[in-house]
């Protein structure tokens, strides 16, 4: 390209420069993964064994015991017969359409991912809410986590950790965790200052303020974050299956390549059903814990 064309063409890096730049970086990463891959991989071993154990448990236990246990949990959390009945029907339908095993696999990995996202996300959200400094550092990271295409980091992760559950869990968490962090932060920041001041005046420590006032009052917003995190986690099921995570994602992929829409749709619906179950149970549980909002319905 002629040099004088900068008026119409962007004066970009020459191909050669760009090439060597890319090659250097690629090489560096390759070296890094060669060097430290095993060490890093071994860090995740406990998690991996847990994941495998949990999946085996769900699959090898007879379906009606699993079904009973799930229903029990749902009822315990929500105290709602209607919801429990809905869960029963959808799980039976899933089983009837022959997706029981895949659903159990997805259930096992998504449960772990969601719980981990919430367990990691809420403290980070709290940190962000309490320090403007932390917020200004974390926000761009969250932006990157949400918009950097999973494909870009999946391959490096696979190179580092191999295919399978661990990179799957990492990918899902990276993608699913930002909403709960962001909305925890927002919820806490929106808490009424007068109420907080009252707590301070009575000598509440930072953590008493947090657990006694800020978190309870931020609950509706945090729950919206958890809802989004659950949605994102389940939206990632297919992407996770691209790097060898078994479950409902695989039939979806298969159906795409072969244009079996109904197969895809059925498995997609099973994913949706899981999402709705997770979401409704968590939301009902949270709502039960917030008696003061009775009458008004958030969410």
């Amino acid at each position: 390209m002629a040099n004088s064309s900068w008026l119409t063409e962007f004066p970009d890096m020459s191909r050669r420069e760009l090439l060597s730049f890319r090659q250097t970086l690629d090489g560096a990463y390759r070296d890094f993964s060669r060097e430290y891959g095993d060490t890093i991989e071994s860090l995740f071993d406990p998690l991996l064994s847990f994941l495998i154990w949990f999946e085996d448990l769900l699959i090898s236990t007879p379906w009606w015991i699993v079904l009973g246990a799930v229903l029990g949990l749902v009822y315990y959390a929500s105290r709602s017969l209607k919801l429990s009945a809905g869960v029963l029907v959808s799980l039976l339908a899933i089983g009837y359409f022959g997706m029981w095993e895949d659903t159990m696999r997805t259930l096992s990995i998504i449960t772990v991912c969601t719980l981990m996202s919430i367990a990691i996300g809420i403290p980070i959200g709290i940190l962000m809410a309490q320090s403007d400094r932390a917020r200004s550092i974390i926000t761009p990271l969250l932006d990157i986590m949400q918009t950097m295409p999973a494909f870009v980091y999946l391959i490096p992760v696979v190179m580092l950790l191999g295919i399978g559950k661990i990179p799957g869990v990492i990918a899902v968490i990276i993608y699913a965790i930002p909403p709960v962090i962001r909305l925890t932060n927002l919820g806490i920041r929106l808490v009424d200052t007068e109420t907080l001041e009252a707590a301070t005046a009575y000598g509440a420590t930072r953590s008493q303020r947090l657990f006694g006032v800020q978190l309870p009052l931020a609950m509706p917003t945090i729950m919206a974050g958890i809802n989004q995190t659950i949605m994102m986690a389940l939206a990632m099921v297919v992407v996770a299956s691209m790097i060898g995570v078994k479950g409902l994602g695989q039939p979806v992929l298969k159906s795409i390549t072969n244009q079996y829409f109904t197969l895809g749709l059925l498995n997609g619906l099973a994913i949706v059903a899981l999402a709705i179950i997770f979401d409704r149970v968590s939301q009902t549980y949270a709502k039960r814990a917030q008696k003061h909002l009775e009458g008004s319905n958030h969410g």
Partner: protein, 391 residues
């Protein structure tokens, strides 16, 4: 009151509070004497407090009054450092609370002070009972430990039965009482009360006032009380501070404020007060009054004051009644005074004028003022009473 040497519990020195983006920059302007309105117009900063110097004594009820927006709430928030001053010192028990590290500040707030907020500051997600127990639960007490106490305070403020409601289900005054119970439940030494009774009806309000006075007398709490109700201020206050535009205009006893206002502002402020309710006999009576001592006419003749048409008669038991010159003249030296005296009751120096006005109206004589040792210490002249009531 005021007579016994009390030690100073809270000391405020040179306190300034300026609201806005760059308070420190505006501070000098304020120190140079720019008025609150000017500062607001020129810099967009609001002067909350300026150059406050103040002592609160241990065990007193210290009332803060002043126009709306004069900085009362701002001032009271400094006592437990809910806001940091732009400049100045706050000493509690001799300790500069600006220097307290976070942990000690928390301890200080837990044990020293409890606060009633102007806007109640209840926790919407806690039931009424849990709100009341908040101060104790935060100190680490278990619910079953603080529950009896909280229940009993709720009962005291008249909200038994509402334990399980949430604040949003209560009326304004009920919410205020929950805030009150919460503060009282903590056993703090100092109570900060920002218009704590403003939403209460007169019956409950006067009950609460009694409660407060009792608390202060039995437990020697120090109470800082903001109110707009002069009668309340006069009833409760050992001393009253009057704020104007963030400046302290006058600090003094209720009588000082009513009878010796330092400027027109305080005068206007005190104008509407029900003086009959605010002032005691002691403030109006004429001291050093002559009396007649004895039970016989003879004794009476000896001590009857010369240029008076009547006199107060005492025996060793105390006040007996009024003897007019005319009656005395019509009697024999040996007569007893029994049955000859006019029956006009005596009054005590700490009685409110309100109580003695009917007496004064019902008689054309002055009324004798008698102390608790049954000694005559003065008399109440109707004309003086009239003067004080209609300044």
């Amino acid at each position: 009151m005021g007579n016994t040497e009390q030690d100073i519990l809270i000391k405020i020195e040179g306190l300034y509070q300026i609201f806005g983006k760059t308070p420190k920059k505006v501070l000098q302007k304020v120190k140079d004497g720019a008025s609150k309105d000017d500062v607001l117009a020129q810099t967009g900063h609001t002067v909350g407090l300026q150059d406050i110097n103040l002592d609160v004594k241990r065990g007193e009820i210290f009332v803060i009054m002043g126009l709306s927006g004069s900085g009362k709430s701002t001032l009271i928030r400094h006592f437990n450092r809910l806001i940091d001053p732009t400049a100045g010192k706050i000493l509690v028990d001799g300790e500069d609370i600006m220097e307290l590290p976070q942990k000690e500040l928390t301890e200080f707030r837990r044990h020293k002070m409890a606060m009633v907020f102007q806007h109640f500051g209840l926790m919407p997600h806690r039931s009424v009972l849990d709100n009341v127990g908040y101060g104790l639960s935060i100190k680490g007490l278990k619910k079953n430990e603080w529950k009896p106490k909280a229940t009993s305070w709720l009962d005291t403020v008249g909200l038994a039965g509402y334990e399980d409601q949430f604040p949003s289900q209560l009326s304004g005054g009920q919410q205020q009482r929950v805030g009150l119970a919460r503060a009282l439940c903590t056993d703090a030494e100092i109570l900060l009360m920002d218009e704590a009774f403003s939403a209460l009806d007169p019956l409950i309000r006067s009950e609460m006032q009694d409660q407060l006075i009792e608390l202060q007398e039995t437990l020697h709490k120090t109470i800082i009380f903001i109110t707009h109700d002069l009668d309340e201020a006069l009833r409760l206050g050992d001393r009253i501070a009057v704020l104007k535009d963030g400046k302290l205009v006058q600090v003094g006893t209720p009588v000082d404020i009513v009878l010796n206002p330092v400027d027109e502002y305080v005068t206007a402020f005190a104008k509407d007060v029900n003086r009959a309710k605010a002032l005691s006999v002691a403030t109006v009576m004429t001291e050093n009054t002559d009396k007649v001592l004895g039970t016989t006419v003879r004794e009476a003749r000896k001590s009857f004051p010369e240029n008076q048409s009547y006199a107060f008669v005492f025996d060793h038991e105390g006040y007996k009644g009024i003897l007019t010159k005319k009656t005395l003249a019509s009697l024999q030296d040996s007569d007893s005074l029994d049955g000859k005296l006019l029956d006009v009751s005596s009054i005590a120096p700490n009685q409110l004028l309100e109580d003695v006005i009917p007496l004064s109206l019902n008689t054309q004589f002055d009324i004798p003022v008698v102390d608790k040792y049954r000694q005559l210490i003065g008399r109440l002249e109707a004309s003086k009473l009239a003067d004080v009531l209609a300044p």
